[in-house]
Amino acid sequence: MLLVAALRVITARNPVHAALYLVLAFFNASGLWLLLRAEFLAITLVLVYVGAVMVLFLFVVMMLDINLEQLREGFWQNLPLAVVVGGVMAFEMVAVLAGRYFGSATSTHAVPAGYSNTRALGRVLYTQYVYAFEIAAVILLVAIIAAIALTLRRRKDTKGQDPARQVAVRREDRVRMVSMPSEKE
């Protein structure tokens, strides 16, 4: 399922479909995590990637009018390079995994009943690593400040309302009395 979904991400003609297939791929990957008893990673994968990143991504895809035919040009030109890179990566993974995974018996130590790695993670995060955790939070705050400082720009031609000025408006600002000479028939 994961492989099929991942393949469809790059082959689907419609970018929205491709994004939705990516969501499917994430769900499958999180299923794999669950099977490996890493439920915290599974939950975060769904929450962060599916819940936040992909929604944002979909918005962008829908907002931007992308010319697909232009993008698809030259798609197959990079195939030889892609095959070589993919082959090397596959070979490395086989070399690393084959010896350990297929050689020895699966010797993961038994997990005690009722063990939750979410709780375990939370425990070390707020005890052992609380200092690093706090610094990471500060880094995120700095990222927000920097992003806003660098991109927020008061443009002069923006059409916006200023409620304070609307409330404080006076009659003289809006209504102009014009004395017109009365016309005679």
Binding site: Y129, A132, V138, V142, A149
Partner: protein, 498 residues
Amino acid sequence: MLVLVNHLPVLPEVLLLLGACVLMIFDLYAKDEGRRASFALAQLILLACAAATLFILWVNGGRSLLLFDRSFLSDAMSGVLKLVAYGAVSAALAYSRRYLLDRGLLRGEFLTLLLFALLGMMVMISANSFLTLYLGLELLSLCLYALVALNRDSAASTEAAMKYFVLGALASGLLLYGISMIYGATGTLVISDIAARATSLAAESSSSRMLLVFGLVFLVSGLAFKLGLVPFHMWIPDVYQGASTAVTLVIGTAPKLAAFAMAMRLLVGGLPALSVDWQQMLAILAVLSMAIGNLTAIAQTNLKRMLAYSTIAHMGFMLLGLMSGVVGGNRLSAVDAYGAAMFYTIVYVLMSLGAFGVLLLLSRAGFECERLEDVKGLNRRDPWLAFLMLVLMFSMAGVPPTAGFYAKFAVLSAAVQAGQIAIAVTAVVFSLIGAFYYLRVVKLMYFDDPAQGVSAVGQRGGARLLLSANGLSLLLIGILPQTLMYVCLQAIQYSYAR
């Protein structure tokens, strides 16, 4: 209450974080275009942090305390370096207010990001684990990238920020790669544990030693980038020149203290077992930096760019102290050597503050003082500022009655004691070559006629007083170096000579 008392050593960091957040909100309601209140608040926060740090130094009395599961270290060295960092940031604020105001760059974000950068430096200075060291470094670097890019309408600033960001990310990657290798070899991130594990591993087998040395190479590369050492120096001239002078002042001063602390923590604290290896690497970096820094600076016509190359040369000089601590497994002269390197870093920060401070004070709205011609005949127009610049340039060149001379002398004598005569002689030769471009500035100020059209005249006010104190302090330290040297030696003694 017990928790509060136990975590007292982290008080300066907490104060600074709270202060920066309060300042961020406070500044939103600032009516004043000049933001005097915000600046005053920032100085107040720095003052409070300094008081807290002094108090902790006094309470600790030279002991080293570990907090947060040994990821935070409060020792004498961190206290002293933090105090100097507060001073540097506070002076940077004072010098740059008018400059930023004249250019319409004075915004609350400058203050907030500056304080957060200081927080990153403090985290680095008192890090006792690779994790906190790295996080502190990222916090500092992110703030600096944003500060460089804050001048959005200038293409040069944007380009500098982009270069800085990309190269900085690369250096962080190198550093992380090195950290991951060392973590793989030793199985821990805590620096004191790594020191113990690495010693036994290095003695045990050559293959695990190999892995450690590999990690070390990446660590040193990342470190060299942050210090700006050849061949990882490419970003320094472009960033110094591209950023507005106020930001250059920030980048060129306090972060050097943090980088020095990082080098001490990583190499001296974490990997003393491999000191033979990293001393060789540092020797190469030092000689290359002094050579390229001093030779290239001669060809520069832009003062900021010249000072950038001079930074590279100075950091190479500082390495002389770091690399001559351990001689053949003997740590007898370690305190002297590291103390000399720390003294050099602090004096360099003072000199750099002063030099960029003069440039800031000479600039006005619509006039940027950054080329060599701009200081021509400064003596006729503003003798006092010319005199201060003279002191600063003499100090950077290492002319006797100034602090720069004594700093160079201490570092060189450490290198000679370690038996590195050849490198010491090379350093002297290159610093003689370097004296040329510092003295050229003096010649331009005193013996040339002012250029037509431009007239750089220093501003009046509090910043000028502070700059005078800054320049004169270099003379004072040069004549009476014992006090600062004693502080540095004691700090190293308490922190590293156990």
